[in-house]
Symmetry: C2
Subunit: 314 residues, 2 copies
Amino acid sequence: MAVTVVGSVAFDALETPFGKRDRILGGAATHFSLAASFFSDVRVVGVVGEDFGSEEFEVFAARGINMDDVEQVPGARSFFWSGLYEDDMAVAHTLDTQLNVFAEFDPKLSQHARESAILFLANIQPDLQRQVREQCNGAALVGLDSMNYWIESARSSLLETMRCVDTIVFNDAEVRMLTGEPNLARAAREIRELVGPRVLLVKQGAYGACMFTETSFFSIPAYPLETVIDPTGAGDAFAGGFFGFLDSLDEPDFDDNHLRCAAVLGSVMASYCVEDFGSERLQRLTRREIAERFEEFKHMTAFESPPVVAQLRR
Amino acid sequence: MAVTVVGSVAFDALETPFGKRDRILGGAATHFSLAASFFSDVRVVGVVGEDFGSEEFEVFAARGINMDDVEQVPGARSFFWSGLYEDDMAVAHTLDTQLNVFAEFDPKLSQHARESAILFLANIQPDLQRQVREQCNGAALVGLDSMNYWIESARSSLLETMRCVDTIVFNDAEVRMLTGEPNLARAAREIRELVGPRVLLVKQGAYGACMFTETSFFSIPAYPLETVIDPTGAGDAFAGGFFGFLDSLDEPDFDDNHLRCAAVLGSVMASYCVEDFGSERLQRLTRREIAERFEEFKHMTAFESPPVVAQLRR
């Protein structure tokens, strides 16, 4: 099987309290595909400019990521984002956004991409997300991310797209913005009633992530890193780990423990992602490191019921 | 064995988006002792005014809480706090604080209180906390809470008191304020290096709580309540569940799983506390409800390792 992701493949300029990068490989589909590639075959649908060179393509090739559905537009420049993080690494301040090739992006999927078992619609304009969704009617599982900008400027289109997917990956600010509801549990219920996803994942930055499904609630903390170098891409790395793992199963399904393990592996990938600028840490990550941190997540959250709890029932 | 808590026993006026109470039983020692009373014998050290009547004393008596060390000052009024919570229930706005009897509080512990195995210094002036600490030299385990006001106005006294305890219970804003460090893991390490507690518990409101010890990190989410009526006392109920459970063991110890279960039971008590105004929910709580929510916390955080994780190690 394979995961197809549609989203930005880009250049970023980043500044955090730990340093800066003037021009670095970025984009949601980049972080997603690198993270997912540790678990499954990944195919990127996107568009880049002539400035996207062999050095950049090599990063994907080194992880076996299929880039056949990435269109390269001659004479044009790739999507560019410039962001600044201050002491509070939770908030990215956008300094510059240049759509470039993305302004005219008209995704047309190859037959291979259309046949993927899992499709992830990374954060792009919701009409484009729906256009891709409609080309992948056979997907067993479709995920979606978005951002505050589309919630404000394209709300009805976004809601329509949300109704065509089964797994939504938002951060808590987006959940609250979409519903106007400060209580997360209530906001999650409103979203499930409004657009009916089977799974709602809520990324909570330094507080971890949680997952609302039809039958259960699951919460996983963030890995307690003493040094977060650059939060860029953490949410996409989370989604890459989540959907990549589900695609590694014999059949993608909605089994509760599978979804929970997917969320933990998503958290593992996000925790590594932020250890260096952009995708630099994911590029040098090993399978053994993923397994080790998964076990650390298990240890961070485990406890055995003491006898007193049984006694309380009497 | 028994837990002794020193702290405020008071009247509160509260307003939240869900209603208001003009005069309700409050105070850190009240919430702590009610929560701890489900697990162990509890003794309160404090001071009240003549306005503190049989109705208030009856709340403690109904839970078997020993009030012999609560001094009642004739002709004086009890400590009074008035607070307002807006839509974001994470922030309490203080409208009024009247120290009243607390202005002259000079805690003198009975022999029974001095002999408690566990002592909890709830949020009061740090010199007073130390004065109580020095009267309880035999305690196997001493916990401490504080607040932003003392961090700013009595920092050196607070640090001196922190050095005399082994378990510190702060919220994340207090941890960051004390250290000036936005990263929680790093701030926690700084506090452990500065004053050397064996256990640092960090309450994170709607995000749950986490615990740093010499050997491990543990995180527990908040219970995903759709309606939080009043957050007042949640932190003290957390501490009450934590220390009450540890006191229910044959010997209070620092066993990793015991500390983890204590943190879960603290979270259980905090989650019930916020379901109604002040201590109203804790007053009608049952042992069975505690056991049920403990199991829910277990289910909210549990996952089984999938085969793919073992394969990643190859």
